[in-house]
Each structure stands twice: as structure tokens, then as C-alpha cells.
Symmetry: C2
Subunit: 489 residues, 2 copies
Amino acid sequence: MASAALRPLRLCWALGPLCLCCALRPAAAATNILLLLMDDMGWGDLGAFGEPSKETPNLDQMAAEGMLFLDFYTASPLCSPSYTPQDIVGGIPDSELLLPELLKKAGYTNKIIGKWHLGHRPQFHPLKHGFHEWFGSPNCHFGPYDNRERPNIPVYRDWEMVGRYYEDFKIDLKTGEANLTQLYLQEALDFISKQQASQKPFFLYWAIDATHAPVYASKQFLGTSQRGLYGDAVREIDDSVGKILKHLQQLGISENTFVFFTSDNGAALISAPKQGGSNGPFLCGKQTTFEGGMREPAIAWWPGHIPAGGVSHQLGSVMDLFSTSLSLAGLQPPSDRQIDGIDLLPVMLQGKLIDRPIFYYRGNELMAVRAGLYKAHFWTWSNSWEEQSKGIDFCPGQSVAGVTTHTQEEHTCLPLLFHLGRDPGEKYPISFASEEYQRAVERVSALVQQHKATLVPGQPQLNVCDQAVMDNSTVTTPNRQIAAFGDQK
Amino acid sequence: MASAALRPLRLCWALGPLCLCCALRPAAAATNILLLLMDDMGWGDLGAFGEPSKETPNLDQMAAEGMLFLDFYTASPLCSPSYTPQDIVGGIPDSELLLPELLKKAGYTNKIIGKWHLGHRPQFHPLKHGFHEWFGSPNCHFGPYDNRERPNIPVYRDWEMVGRYYEDFKIDLKTGEANLTQLYLQEALDFISKQQASQKPFFLYWAIDATHAPVYASKQFLGTSQRGLYGDAVREIDDSVGKILKHLQQLGISENTFVFFTSDNGAALISAPKQGGSNGPFLCGKQTTFEGGMREPAIAWWPGHIPAGGVSHQLGSVMDLFSTSLSLAGLQPPSDRQIDGIDLLPVMLQGKLIDRPIFYYRGNELMAVRAGLYKAHFWTWSNSWEEQSKGIDFCPGQSVAGVTTHTQEEHTCLPLLFHLGRDPGEKYPISFASEEYQRAVERVSALVQQHKATLVPGQPQLNVCDQAVMDNSTVTTPNRQIAAFGDQK
């Protein structure tokens, strides 16, 4: 079986907060929205989530002043962006109205800082999809590549390519030194200042990638963590988030700015220990639909609105950030299509708990479902035997018989059931013969039926197996495509 | 090789805070001392340490008001008490002066609530070793036993046996219901009130065992945890600790009472998921010298003295509670023998970090040493093949090649080295060929040499292989011995 990386993605699941369209209404209250999306950071990487070095005082403080979400999930155990090969020509279709497009019509000024990755071609450029400004890149900072067969990844300011990683934006793979997080921080601070001065509401999507291998940190943070280079990167991010929140407070707009911190998928244990993070007590990591692959650190912060020190067990999803952001902007959710996310404001403001399931997809496959504290696996799969034999291990040091399987094993008739309260590590399947099993699986089955009945699959846009979305010419002339944004404004 | 449970224990390592004697000096400041010692509770069992259900608001609050110790260790990966069979006649020798004996001479009134287990025979009774009062038992609440061949474990108030578990102190193994924690709580509150009224300093050793299998909770807590019965027990303990701290505050003596919360060894993963806790991101559990077996949750609380919200990476040991308590009582450490513990007050009051190693013993064997962030394993061993084949697994779901070995494997010439900052889960041994390895192992070797040169081994007191300490007559007349305290005051 092919690696998940090579399989088509249901785009809407992968894009999370940016996806889905809606009917518009005028903004009632123009709350600023700031989404901080980390790359390959795991649930267990923050002090507030139990990282034993406890080196994230600013994020822990953010949690103490806001609300900690302990059961918050990503929509896919890997980021489409980082797995979008350079020679793909697919991307986000115009038919998808993204969050910034909707907010733009409601008067917001929108900026993306960092990773985009919904396509490299001009029609997929973030400024064609609702953003006013961009500083970042349409891919991860992989490299360095040679500049003939394969150029380095470009970095853009708005429509203009302003340089390339490793060349104009240095990354020293030997020392791990790169000042990119500082650049992204400064961009954020400047944008916030500018917006505050103009008295216009803003949406800032801060999608930084220091914790994605190759991991990097600025000189001032190198060697400062107990955890090595990965920890240095986390510490720099923690410091940056602290500076952003302080900036909001100093400008006097913290009570008018909703901030949400989370990550795109679980820690990449294939890169551990030097380049990968921690999923705490959970099983496996990135690429898998075990808790380690999809449960994310998540913190909501909105002083004066979200009570300080809150802890929520609401089952949440990055897709909820779409609906929640619309709600913050005073917009109604779209009515012309199925919406997967929910508005989390009642959870954050009134402490409500909304009963809803979590669906765990790997590529197109519905691998598992969580309902309450139960999780039913319809398919189990860690890595392939081939990967395993090469040392590509998504579950290093972990092995649960019949669970962390090396072939994709079907359990659709008799799902493997776990109770995540008693067994967060997914080590002890509940007996098929028990009443508890019968009750839980009945509940899950009803949810799956309902889900499938209303599911409108997205068209795969980034399927590397689909020749129609691949630009084969790029193999010989990569520069043309990679820097395509720069040519066509 | 025999199970560790059956091997001799170096008593002083096992007893931790209660052990070692010292020269006395008059108390300068009579600070009350309250040691809360949990049974088989793991590092990952508290919200503040990353338990995903986050159900310990009172302990988390205690940490927020006090100091969290992230690198605190027990002296043995199992409690001698719970592994002292009923038919053993050994116990704590008179030559060992225990902490309550020293505090008694300094004017303290001392009470033990809960487990004693330094011997069943009259000469080992806690009231013969410095305590003024006792409510509890000389063993864990195992059972129910028949009352012919093997009687149920007795419960004492001071010298008097006041009943037996399962008979007079009900434990319903089917529902997990038992009100013992409530009894222990009430005992603590009453003792504190009485001492406050008498204006005499106290030492209270609250050694409760609800989290040791068979796990129990009071009716009001049953079914209240996401984590099942084990979580119910933790929630009741959390609630009880909250009530004790509140009581101190209401009596106005919180600023004169030092409180320390910790556990006797890592979570017993052999009893998981229903009867065992969590060791968070660490490897294995109770019985082993991996981090899961010996790193403990630890919180110090002393309002007005220990700054609120502190987090310490001081390498600490339960043995330090001996030296620290002496210091609190204004007593000098003993000078007539080697002291293994250190005074942690400079750490707690002035934020100091004291350079000291941690030695990991399993029985008599020095299995591993921690120096700074490095941990060197001289021996690796999880469980035996025989145990493994019977499903007695100290590392369920975890398997690290060459590390979680099923025979006791020697690495004394070339220790297995881990960096606990980058690799808290002990999954990635550092390359023998690296400079880092050379430097760290040199440092560790020097520490071991120094340790061995000054080591004064204790006489095994609880060695079930030693017929001299076993009372074979008890096989037929167990009542005589088991209730021996009651017969001879």
C-alpha cells in the first residue's frame, strides 16, 4: 500500500480553518482574529500539556489567562502543504470560499505569514483567495537544493518572490540556525500595529514552520533548551507568542482580539529525537490516526471574554476555527453546503459542551471515530513493513499488538474500541463481548451512517498519482513553475 | 533471575524520608511538616503533569501556589511495604533513627496515617519508632483473605488493632467502593486541629493507598472520573488534599506548615488500565529503573515562603525529605554517618540548583545513574520472559530494542546513555562513538566511584529468601503474627 503522503487528500479536511464557504451577513462586532498554527508540534510539546522540561512559560501563561483545549483535533494527520511536492500543479479551487474571502467582504484586512501550500500556481496564490498580504512560502523550507534540477523553495512578499530559502533566507542545517521565526514575528507585530493604527479589524494567519524538520532557531535561542534543537525552536516560538500577546495588550486591543494556538498534526516521530517533538502519553505520531497523530495542543485566548484558567474537554477540530471565526466576525455560517466545523464560542464563553464526534481520516479513508470518550478504529495502520525496514517509524518505541499494524488492517465489521479516559494511550482494546462494547459501537455506527449520508467528498487537488494535476515539464524546468507567482500578478 | 519483589532491599533506599539518624540541635523554628505520600501514583497522573483528563484541580492549584518538581525521584521502584509479605518477621532496626524520632526530641508531635510496613512485629511498631499516633495498617489492603489460613490485613489505632480490611473496613472489590480515604482525611483534619489547638508543632505522615491495586474510592467519587476507577481514586485524593490545605489556611497555620506531595514509585502498569495510573511520556513503570518506574510527581507548598508558581528542575529524591524536614525543624543533619539526601530548602526558598546525581537501584543493584540530563544504564531489565509470558508486563505497549530487555543485561563496561531532555522516553541511546558519550560517561563514572567509596550498605531486613527473617510458623497460625501489635504494647 502506498504511503499516505502519496494518496489523495480530501482537501476540505486538510485545509481546516481556511475552507468552506458561507452566506454573508454584515459584521456585528469586528473582533480581530489571530490564528497561530504550528507545524508538526505535538500535544506533549508544551509545559501546560506535560512536557517534562516545561520550557514554554509564555504559552503556559496564555493557557492560564485563557482556555486549554485538551481534546482538540486536526482534520488530517499530515499537512497537505508539507507534502505538496514542488512539481504539483493542483491547488485550492475557486469554488471553495476561504475564511479570509468571507472576512474580507466583512471589512477585515487579512494577512498570511508563513506557509501557504494550497498550490503553487498563480490561480492558487493566497492573494487570489482572500488575503491582502503575504509573507512566506508556498512550501516548507526543505533544501538546500541545487539551482539547476531543483531550485530552492521561494519566499514571497505578496506577489513578489523576494528570495529563496538557503540563499536569501539562510538556514544552516549543520547548526540549525535560521532567523525565520524572528522575521515572521516582526511581520506579525508590524501588521498588528498597522491595523491598530488604521482602526480596521484584521485576520492574521500565522503559520510558521520552525518545528518542522529541518528544525531551526535563531542564534539567541540555539542551545537554550534542555530538549536540544527541537526545544530551541519551541522556545523561540513560545517567546514569539509571548511578544505577540504582549503587543496586543500594549496596543490596548487584547480584549478585541481572539487568539487561537494549535498545530497542524501530531509530532513527527520519524524525526525524533533531534528534529521531532512529543505527543505526550499518546500513541504514535504524525501520519497516523492514533491520538499521537491527530490530537493537538490548543489554547484559546481572549481577555475579558474567555474566562482565565479554563480547561475544556470539548471535542474540537481545526475545522471549528472556520465557524468560530465567522461567528466572531458576526457572520452567519454558510447554508448552501454541509459544514463540518462548529462554532466554539458557546464553549469558550459559556463553558458549554457540545456533543459531536471526531472523524479520523488518513487520505480518503475513514480510519476511526471518536464519540465521547470512546474511539473506534475501523482501520489500523502505523507504517508499512517497507518503511519499517528502512527505519521510517511513526511509533518509535511503541508497539501494541494488533493495533500498531504494519499493513492497513480492516476492522470495519468489528471495530477496535478504546476508552480514551481510562486508556489514552490506546493500548487496551475493549472486549468485543462486553456490554460496554456493544453500546459504544452502536453509538459510533449511527454517527458514521449519518456522516456518510451527508458527506460531500472534495475533489482531490493534490493527488500526485493523478497525472492531470502534475506538471511533468517541471522536472526539467522547475524554476518556471516554482516561482510562477512572481510572473503573473 | 528472581523478581525484584523477592530480592533483598537496601532498607534505607526503600524507606526514603523516614530513614537515617542524626545529631540533634534545639529547634530554631518549629514549622509543621506534612508529607503526603501516594502509593503507585505515576508522574503523569496529575493535570499539572499532563494527564489528559486534567482532573486534579486541587493538586494543580497546590502546584500553582507552590513549587512543582519535575525531576524528583523515589529511592526504589517499588515500595518495600506493599511487597512485605505477611509472613515476614523482619523490619526496621532500632539502630536506624527515623525522622519522627528526631522530630520528637525537638518537640514535635508525630502521626502516621495509613501504610507503615516497616515490619509487623511489636519491635517495629511505628510508636516504637518516633510516632505518637497511628491510624492505619502494616500492609496494603490486599484481600479479602479467609480467616483461617490467611487473615485479612489488620488496621490499627495506635497500639490497638481496631479491625481488619474487608471485615470492619469494607472494600467492595466489585464496585471498588471503600471509604478509607475519607477516614484517612478525617484523621488528618482532626490531628491538625488538635495540634493547632495545643500550639505544638507537628509532623504528619499521610501515607495513603487508594491508588494501589485493588484501587478504591468512596461512593461519592465512584464514576466521577473520565479515567474509570483509578481516576475516581485520584479525584478523591485530590479533593482530600484540597481539604487539608484549606483546613491549614482556615486555621491560620498554612504559613507555618510545610507540605510536600509525592509518590512512592511509578504507576503500576501491570495493573493498568483499570487499576493502574500513568507515567506520562516516560518508559515503563513500577518495578523498573526506567523513568516511568522512579520519576515521581512532586509538589512543595509553603505559602509565604515558597514562591507561588515555581517550577524546579532540581534533581530531587524522597530521601531529601529527611534532610529538608530536619532543616525545617531547625535541626542539623547527622554527622555520624553518610547522608544520601540533601536539604532542598535553598532550592525552594532561593531557587538554587544543587548539582547532585540520582542513583537508580533495583534491589541491591545499581542499575543506572542520572547526572544532569544524562542517564547511564549499567543494567537494563524490564520483566522476565517468564513474567512476560504470563502477561505480567511492566512496559505494556512499549518496546525499545536493547533497552526494555527481558533478561537483566549488563552494560557496566559500556553503559547505555540517554539524554533525558531530548529523549525523556529513553528510546534513543547516544552513540558510543560520539564525543558527547565519552564526556558524559566520564562524568558518570566519577560519580559512581565516589558513591561506591562512601556507600554503607544497609542490612537486608525484608529478604524473603532469608529464612532468618521469615516466620514459618505463621503459615499455620497467621493470626498471632498478623495482629501481633495488638498483643504486646
